[in-house]
Symmetry: C2
Subunit: 439 residues, 2 copies
């Protein structure tokens, strides 16, 4: 993409209403624009990152055997009356009346809708296990939206729902999501720690939150230090036998504030193993059994011919919130440092003197070769000063820059910059280009 | 995808509430499930087609120089008060009040929001031309939703918005979208005819609808027959000089019912050139100049230093509606016939006797080889009868089937079926597989 034809409105000043670093940087780097309290438009660069995160989530859900559907944003209130949650949910639910005076709502979650889909088509244990997920906009009418996309009102969520014939099978489904979550967060460069959590309005008795540690986290969390550095199991696991991977983690103490038991924490960890920190929730999984299937009559006939309510769980990832969480975990005083897996562009190509014949020719050659190799390049061919170009590239956090200037080029050289380390090196045009083409 | 692990709930009976063939087939083939009047959940197969259509639209927008953003589904009523449309829009606008009694609405279109984004960041002619588009869910509270996704309430729309410094440049932007639309509909196997159209609540004085001819179309259209078979210009055009491609088409008579002038029609066409048919609108483009930029003060400074309102146009494609339109244009009495570019799977692999060692081995080999070659395969390894398998594959419209049965395999042969032509041929396993791998 040629920058002069792109829409990348970076800001020089930090907007005064942003309190945390991710919100400030998302506004300054031109990722989002607020349209109402807690409601954002996604500008081109922000949307690219959002789509990359979404795609990682999708791939890991598919790998774990979940099947993608798409549920509507608006739902019938009557479904929530069936489950009994309509009156319970409170003011965070955005209630809507259509022209025929029918009660709708903007879905804050979709247990009722997915149960309605399931009961319409599935009757037999032979069709199970089943896990249906979707990545769709949700709305929660927060009383005080803040922190940008971290606590917005309209937000993008991946929500998966598992259906099983019995509890043993449902726990396998829970474990598949548990491991899929470890894997997908790791692919985004995040260290997410699973912690026993309160089930809140979703219900059930088994639940884990996946927490990123960050000073600006919304809540206090407590865990065994080893959990932070324990990598993810990776994709090459036996997806039907994950107990070992799950137990290895759940054996260590980890709890959110609501579930924390200080005496137990001190009993189960030594002083130097004890970590208390602020945390950001990026995922939340629940096993709640028959909470929705029983009142909504999502019944399954087992091999014994007996009908019983499906055993269900639900599994959320805050897709739009993850942009904020990743920035909280990965930035410096110059701006965002995107992990390569979610970076909006693979690299920036910076022409220090557009109009100079040699610079233009070298840049066009590099741009064409990199694009042909499938690399996604932001080519800065604007008339801005070099300092402004470097500052912008650093602010928006593109992992690599290839810098082409007249002096270096006279000797056949260009500069390569790494955003994360700040390292720069000068080398021959062809060798830098080859390296970037190979990724 | 192994069918036994997928969620493909096809129906034997045609639902009684569906009136047109696309709606019937979308329900029967398990593409959608109604959740409320005019509000649908997208089941796995329907979502795959929706994503393919969306991606074609995206690629052709990008090719034409438009830049993707994403605007929220909910919008501030105050923005619509600025443009003067809030009171005009009528009951099709779903009006919402949040917990703080602030007026919101579910966007039926986004001229106001995009103008708000534009005016926040763009001041100079140097940043123009600019075209921002998004693919997002919209809501129009139709008094009588019907025909499935063809006239739903919650629907997926691609809407693009162009900003230019003067009318000449804005007309070039209009022409780029005009040609992009011809190209993108052709990629989906559709013959879309551009027709002079009424501008309705969007406003302006220049507008074309892109119309698919189908017996079940919602309105009567009138056009010169040559327009139907005229083919799209394709991607290799001079995107800054498209007048010829546009004029070649607009020179021929084509009008929707609201704009039709029978006397002129008869004057400009001979009897055998005259076509009057039912049509389905799949795209609509508008040039409306300063209608939004003037009241909302989206001002641009020109090279002369003088400020003026941006010249704007907007360009819609009904992405979810296109599934219905494509099915109306491409089906037979057995079911849907997807054009290959939007088919949910490239091919079906049908195992006629799962459990038979030779059949299973051949199918597994073919499945692995096809997947490795990047082909998206639906592998039917269920215990259903062969007749049920064929009927299902035909109903859901997968372009090709490779059929593996014990009799053929004993002689080293498999069968290849083409959904569109109905042709079947028997040939050696390896040669059929090679042909499918090559596409």
């Amino acid at each position: 993409m040629r920058l002069s034809r792109y829409f990348l409105p970076t800001l020089k000043e930090t907007p005064s209403d942003a309190q945390i670093v991710s919100h400030k940087l998302m506004l300054r780097a031109g990722l989002i624009k607020q349209e109402a309290a807690g409601i954002y438009a996604w500008l081109p660069l922000g949307l690219k990152v959002l789509k990359k995160i979404e795609q990682i989530v999708r791939e890991e859900m598919n790998r774990a055997g979940a099947v993608e559907i798409l549920m509507p944003t608006l739902q019938l209130a009557d479904l929530w009356r069936e489950s009994g949650r309509y009156d319970d949910y409170g003011q965070e639910m955005l209630r809507i009346t259509d022209r025929h005076k029918r009660d709708l709502l903007y879905g804050p979650t979709a247990e009722e809708v997915v149960t309605d889909i399931f009961r319409a088509f599935v009757r037999s244990y032979r069709d199970l296990p089943m896990n249906l997920y979707n990545i769709q906009w949700k709305f929660r009418d927060e009383v005080r939206p803040r922190f940008g996309v971290m606590r917005g009102r309209e937000f993008l969520m991946k929500d998966a729902y598992s259906f099983d014939i019995d509890e043993a099978s449902a726990r396998k489904a829970y474990n598949r999501m548990f491991v899929a979550y470890l894997n997908l967060f790791e692919r985004m460069g995040l260290k997410a720690v699973p912690m026993r959590a309160d089930t809140g309005p979703i219900g059930g008795d088994l639940s884990h939150e996946f927490i990123i540690l960050a000073d600006t986290g919304e809540s206090q969390v407590f865990c065994h230090k080893d959990l932070v550095e324990m990598g993810a199991p990776g994709p090459d696991v036996d997806w039907d036998n994950l107990e070992g991977h799950v137990e290895k983690r759940t054996a260590l103490y980890a709890a959110t504030e609501e579930m924390h038991d200080q005496a137990r924490f001190e009993r189960e960890t030594s002083t130097d193993q004890r970590l208390s920190a602020r945390g950001i929730e990026v995922g939340h999984i629940f096993y709640f059994g028959e909470k929705y299937s029983r009142p909504m009559k999502a019944m399954i006939t087992g091999p014994d011919g007996v009908e019983r309510p499906a055993q269900m769980g639900s599994y959320g990832v805050g897709v739009s919130r993850l942009l904020g969480a990743i920035i909280e975990a990965s930035h410096d005083d110059k701006g965002i440092i995107w992990p390569e897996s979610v970076a909006p562009f693979d690299l920036a190509l910076i022409n220090l003197r557009p109009g100079d014949e040699a610079c233009d020719a070298a840049c066009e050659k590099a741009y064409a070769a990199l694009q042909a190799a499938g690399r996604d390049v932001l080519y800065d061919e604007t008339d801005d000063r070099p300092g402004a170009k470097f500052a912008r590239t650093e602010l928006v956090g593109i992992p690599w820059s290839m810098v082409v200037g007249p002096k270096g080029l006279a000797e056949g050289n260009v500069e390569l910059r790494n955003r994360r380390t700040g390292e720069t090196s000068t080398a021959a045009f062809d060798s830098v280009l080859d390296g970037l083409i190979k990724g």
